[in-house]
């Protein structure tokens, strides 16, 4: 049922995203964590818990759990890949960048530092799904707010 993807659906549900949805990276919880934040998207019921293990100002380890749509799960999965081993400040800068991309910034969508998460640029065409893609990143934002 090909439709030339005028709707953006094929981009939205591309291979890489479905792969992260079906085989999420860094899923689960950490036995030892420095920060744990649980967020929900009350309108759709998506839930996500993010565990961070900090070593000084470095994210030594990260895990997420919860449930939700392919976009929220894939996005969280990609995020964990991206931020593991980064400084908190760097990770937070990536969150800002990711946000810009989801709000339509073409420049952000070309920013290599977003790695695989750039696959989610197409979510910008689906305003109601933007919240989904941001759930994990919002959890990161919240869990590192008081952290320099």
């Amino acid at each position: 049922m090909p439709d030339g993807d005028a709707s953006g659906l094929t981009e939205l549900y591309q291979e890489l995203i479905l792969d992260h949805y079906r085989r999420p990276r860094n899923q689960g919880s950490l036995e030892a964590y420095t920060r744990r934040v649980a967020l929900a998207n009350p309108t759709c019921g998506d839930e996500l818990e993010l565990d961070l293990l900090l070593d000084g100002d470095t994210i030594a380890d990260v895990r997420f759990s919860g449930h939700g749509c392919s976009i929220s799960q894939a996005s969280a999965s990609m995020m964990t890949q991206l931020i593991k081993g980064k400084k908190v400040a760097e990770a937070r800068a990536l969150a800002v960048r990711f946000n810009e991309m989801l709000h339509g910034s073409a420049e952000a969508a070309r920013d290599k530092s977003l790695g695989e998460a750039r696959a989610l640029a197409g979510v910008a065409k689906f305003p109601v799904r933007v919240k989904c893609a941001l759930l994990g990143w919002n959890a990161l934002e919240e869990s590192t707010r008081s952290q320099p």
Binding site: M1, A6, Y13, G45, D46, C69, S70, F126, V128, C132
Partner: protein
């Protein structure tokens, strides 16, 4: 039933280049020209504040408003229009009863009974009441066929609950509860009964006198009427004995500096300027539904639901939720590992509007053992073609998620 699609302007709009296939009427319904026109006519020739004016417009607006009260009473078989309280919708009606009746009827240690298939609107107000009064909230479980478990219900009634409440029709499962029987049992146990009719009144003939519910509530926007209007149907003797809910203009008799006496029913419970437009629109909606015939409406929807269940059952890896037998025009499902939100996004690209999520029924979701379902609901303007469009769109979702075409 006659084809009514031409009455609904919105159904002739396109969505993403497709005709709109609206399958979310359990959330809110679309409006026929007749209701939209009634609103325009109201503001163009009748608009005034009610109950307080001696001039022509105010008199006619008041008459129009009160006439709808009588129409509502007739439509749902309420014996006395004074027991019809206009509210914003089901949610407000339930909060009114939980707050006003609850305050006088429920004391520390008392029991309130709800079921596991309630909409949050028929759960949270009772949670809040139970918490405020230090009362017990007991949730009756469901059977494997998604009916209220009668044995569990009887056990709950043994606690002599002060208030028992349940939905007439489940907004997720389509289950139609045996309201008259449940009410009789609850009355025998000494309880006052509130029935959430949000998914019943729009879809089938309802006679509250025959059901004998003490309170029966529904929303206009789910039955072709404008948003912001609904009704609480209460037994006048009970309403009379209840303290006021909101205070303000219209609901008073005499106001002193630090105290007041209150107006008789129904005005005691209608503080402030009511939504006259909404009431007038509700009247137009009732006349529209009456002209179609509520028996026909119910038959139309159930036929569509049956057809949908049949067609959906042919889709590989599709799981249906709800009772096997008779059910209302509500069909909940999940499809393989495709999350309901993804499903909704994908079918939307084909013009098909379905709902995905917990449907404001999280306790039920836990019992279904899912976080969310997709849900298609049917109303007077839906057709078999709408079901076909849904099925085709679901096949597209399968393809996008890499499943072989069936």
């Amino acid at each position: 039933m006659r084809d009514v699609r031409s009455d609904f302007p919105i159904l002739h709009r396109e969505v993403h280049g497709h005709r709109l296939v609206y399958l979310d009427s359990a959330a809110t319904t679309q409006k026929p020209r007749q209701v939209i026109d009634a609103i325009v006519e109201y503001y163009s020739s009748l608009n005034a504040n009610v109950h307080r004016g001696a001039y022509d417009l105010a008199v006619r607006a008041t008459e129009a408003y009160e006439a709808v009260r009588a129409e509502v009473a007739t439509f749902v078989g309420a014996p006395d229009p004074n027991g019809v309280i206009f509210v914003r919708g089901t949610t407000e009606a339930i909060n009114l009863v939980a707050s006003s009746l609850g305050r006088v009827r429920v004391q520390k240690g008392d029991t309130i009974v709800v079921t596991a298939m309630e909409h949050h609107s028929n759960l949270i107000p009772w949670q809040l009441l139970a918490e405020a009064r230090e009362a017990h909230l007991v949730m009756v479980e469901l059977t494997a066929d998604w009916q209220i478990d009668l044995a569990g219900y009887r056990r709950a009634l043994e606690r002599s609950p002060k208030i028992v409440t349940f939905t007439h029709v489940s907004n997720v499962l389509g289950t139609i509860n045996p309201v008259a029987d449940l009410t009789r049992l609850a009355h025998d146990a000494g309880a006052v009964v509130l029935v959430d009719g949000a998914q019943a009144v729009p879809h089938m003939p309802v006679n509250v006198a025959a059901l004998d519910a003490d309170f029966y509530v529904f929303s206009g926007h789910k039955m072709l009427a404008p948003m912001g209007i609904g009704a609480l149907i209460g037994k006048p003797a009970l309403l009379d004995a209840m303290p006021p809910y909101q205070g303000g203009g219209e609901m008073i008799r005499t106001v002193h500096d630090t105290s007041a006496t209150y107006a008789p029913l129904p005005h005691k419970f209608e503080a402030g300027t009511p939504n006259v437009e909404g009431a007038v629109g509700l009247g137009a909606a009732i006349r529209y539904l009456d002209a179609l015939g509520m028996d026909e409406v119910a038959a139309h929807e159930r036929a569509l639901a049956r057809y949908a269940l049949e067609r959906l059952a042919t889709i590989d890896a599709l799981t249906l939720y709800g009772p096997a037998g008779d059910r209302a025009g509500v069909v909940s499902f999940t499809l393989a590992d495709i999350h309901p939100h993804d499903l909704a996004t994908i079918v939307d690209s084909e013009g098909v509007a379905i709902r995905a999520g917990h449907h404001c029924a999280q306790p039920l979701m836990r019992r279904l053992d899912v976080a969310a379902t997709a849900r298609a609901t049917f109303y007077v303007y839906n057709t078999r073609e709408d079901v076909d469009a849904l099925v085709a769109a679901l096949e597209k979702a399968r393809t996008l998620f890499g499943y072989a075409h069936a």
